[in-house]
Symmetry: C2
Subunit: 461 residues, 2 copies
């Protein structure tokens, strides 16, 4: 019997999950080749800020499984430093460039595109990437370059553009290295994609309390370079922020070049369209991870949410289906979490302002609450917001800021969102209680009570 | 207009929640009288172990709101040290004994029975409760008596009968006072109601590692007293455990005396039957809290699960409905949690062995997993078990032992149980991820993967 030939483009978590899954299910009946243009596979991009700050000592620590695990134990043909340059979809063939510069061709039965995402850099700034002190952070190599630069004696102040989770986490790690940090953000709040404005104050405060200067509500107009290095960011208000290093974290975009050249359908989000089995518009081509779009289970619409847990699952699902199994990945509810200086910020579903845009009539409960019973000590306070639809009582999202229980309370709401639960379900939710771990009226249930004041105590529908 | 007269029997969380709710909704249009036989209202029984161990300094700390809050701010007529002796249901009248011994009568339009639960004490042992060193723990007064006794110079060893959550938590607090602790348990494991046997080892180990001696799998045959004090427990195997104080924690039973005398329907669980609006078999009588039964949302059967969060909600719902509102409490999924010596033990839904008894075909995944990404440090290991039905893939329950994230992971499963979610829903669950708070493949999702090996990757139904 001929072996099934499976090509995987991209050795990140999605690609390696797909490759591993095919080999696990088919063993010697499949030949699986992974093409990775970088040096690493199975890497944890989310850990790169902590490599910069030296919490993570070596890049190897950011690799989930070493290359040998995939090659020797799982029998996957992993080709690092090998870039796929073209997909000839009709011929089911791809062309690649070997580490030595030579060209190669591989014919596949199935292809998995797991090319990930790349950092967004506005056009005028792109040429600055040639400067040694101007960075984006989207690979282990980026992290290495940044750390090597930041430990230089003459680096005193680091300017971070963007107060999303990259900016939030990098700021902490820049401070950990003893450098000054300035964060410039166009929006008038930190974490503008995760949080409604009325939830963002504690995150701004924790940055400032730890020596991170914030410039909110003002964009960078241009950067100025002198003597081979970028020296300052000139802001829209005319002021300038001097710096010795500049890190741009203003978002990412799906790496769809190959997909487009292969004629695959690109979805309305700009990422590769896939069905819930991770199949693209061509039946023999799958896409998984940050290059692929999925469904927002709250709105029911297509969404692009490039985060690692979904990427891993998409890879698992793609690999399962290629191997003749049957698995689905129905979508996400946009759960995300970040942390800096001990403050955890988590969100799931829609923010209040997104809910309105999505056609809901949002109503919200926002409260500060203790995380544990008052009488045993311990615990702390969290700020919590739960958003629901005023017409149906359906839960639409939650945001929480505080200790790690903020994260977990958001996860509980994520579970409820998945099943389209209502405010009354949240009230009835059977959360465990004992004084050392939670209060008897959990903040989530208190939020439900506050929402019931607006929506009524009787479940609808 | 005549005022609605509402009588509440029992000043614990359920009774005070009902009373408060009626007054909040009706204000002066209602007269609410709470009859509480003890000294305290709005008390946190779950905190009593920590009073014994002096983590909680005073009994007042165990009161959520002081009496004045209810009387002066909320306008509730609270009568402490006042025992209701009879309910004349047809006459809508109750008789009570005043603190001074005098008798009184109160006529009501609505009655809320919130009489709670009492500790189970096998018949032969009951007379021992007269001894100064033989205790149960079900009230703030019990806690005070125990603490006063345990701090005596001549108390060196405390024998705790029952390794349920009371035994687990009291053992920690006995050790905190520097006393020896011996726990005797008829079942062959600790926490026999919460955990399957294959999950109980860490809880036993943490007790033993902290100097708590365990005698598992052997019951107490009798106690022997000398000189006015109980001196030893003689076990079924003939051995004896000497002790200076004895605390019995072998379960509780609903306090249904008044309900029975009023002719109310008692459910199959032995607790007062109520509908989801908390109404008993008489339309003007409600029951709430530990005296009332509810529904197990996993099995769909009647259940008696006397825990504080449900009690509070039942009181809220009863009060809402009495005041002319409309609220429901659909039931519970049996979520519970306990902690000792830093080890958190949590469970929700059905244990594997209960699932079988309830007519399911249980299949389980059990794993030990890290609670955070490997490369950032921090985190610890948890032992997790997820139980599902082999025929439908429906989730049936989860148990977890470890740090506080064990508790939260169980809460997430509780949210899924409420919506009758499946193993495939658990796989798709959109839990947040960043290395400092969780691993990219959360142990819950890994458990789903393990279950999918047995159930298949394709969702059914």
């Amino acid at each position: 019997m001929e072996r099934l030939r499976v090509a995987v483009v991209g050795g990140g978590p999605a690609g390696m999950a797909a490759a591993s899954r095919v080999k696990r299910l088919l063993g010697d009946r499949a030949e699986v080749v992974v093409f990775e243009k970088g040096r690493w596979v199975s890497f944890a991009l989310c850990g790169t800020p902590y490599y910069i700050g030296c919490t993570v000592k070596t890049l190897d620590d950011l690799v989930y499984y070493p290359l040998e695990e995939f090659v020797e134990k799982r029998g996957i043909d992993v080709r690092i430093r090998t870039e796929v340059t073209e997909v000839e979809a009709d011929a089911r063939r791809l062309r690649f460039r070997r580490p030595d510069g030579g060209e190669g061709v591989y014919e596949y039965d199935y292809l998995v595109l797991a090319t990930g995402a790349r950092p967004k850099v506005p056009g005028l700034w792109r040429e600055l990437l040639g400067y040694e002190n101007f960075f984006t952070l989207r690979s282990l190599d980026d992290a290495e370059r940044i750390r090597r630069y930041l430990v230089r004696d003459d680096v005193r102040r680091v300017v971070i553009v963007g107060a999303g989770y990259i900016g939030f986490e990098v700021a902490e790690n820049v401070r950990a290295l003893g450098r000054e940090a300035v964060v410039v953000e166009l929006a008038s709040q930190v974490l503008p994609v995760m949080l409604d404005e009325d939830m963002a104050a504690p995150a701004a405060e924790v940055l400032e309390a730890n020596g991170v200067a914030l410039r909110l509500g003002v964009g960078v107009q241009r950067f100025e370079a002198e003597g081979g290095r970028v020296r300052r960011a000139v802001l829209a208000d005319g002021s300038a922020v001097e710096g010795d290093a500049f890190i741009i974290g203003v978002g990412v975009a799906p790496e769809v070049g190959l997909a487009k050249s292969a004629g695959l359908r690109i979805g309305e989000t700009g990422a590769v369209w896939v069905d819930e089995r991770m199949r693209t518009s061509r039946p023999e081509v799958y896409a998984a991870g940050d290059v692929a779009e999925t469904v927002d289970l709250v709105t029911g619409r297509r969404a692009w949410v490039p985060l690692a847990p979904a990427a891993n699952k998409m890879g698992f699902v793609a690999g399962t289906n290629i191997a003749g199994g049957d698995a689905v990945f129905p979508g996400v509810v946009r759960t995300s979490v970040t942390e800096a200086f001990g403050l955890v910020v988590a969100a799931t579903g829609l923010r209040e302002r997104d809910a309105e845009k999505a056609g809901f009539k949002p109503v919200a409960a926002r409260l500060e609450a203790r995380t544990k019973a008052h009488y045993v000590g311990g615990g702390s306070k969290i700020l919590l917001k739960v958003v629901a639809d005023a017409e149906t009582g359906r839960l639409l999202g939650a945001q929480a800021v505080g200790d790690e229980t903020a994260f977990w309370r958001v996860n509980v709401v994520a579970a409820l969102l998945q099943s389209k639960a209502t405010v009354w379900d949240l009230f009835s939710l059977d959360l465990g209680y004992m004084p050392k771990v939670a209060p008897v009226w959990d903040p989530l249930v208190v939020a439900a009570r506050l929402l019931m004041r607006k929506l009524g105590t009787k479940p609808r529908g």
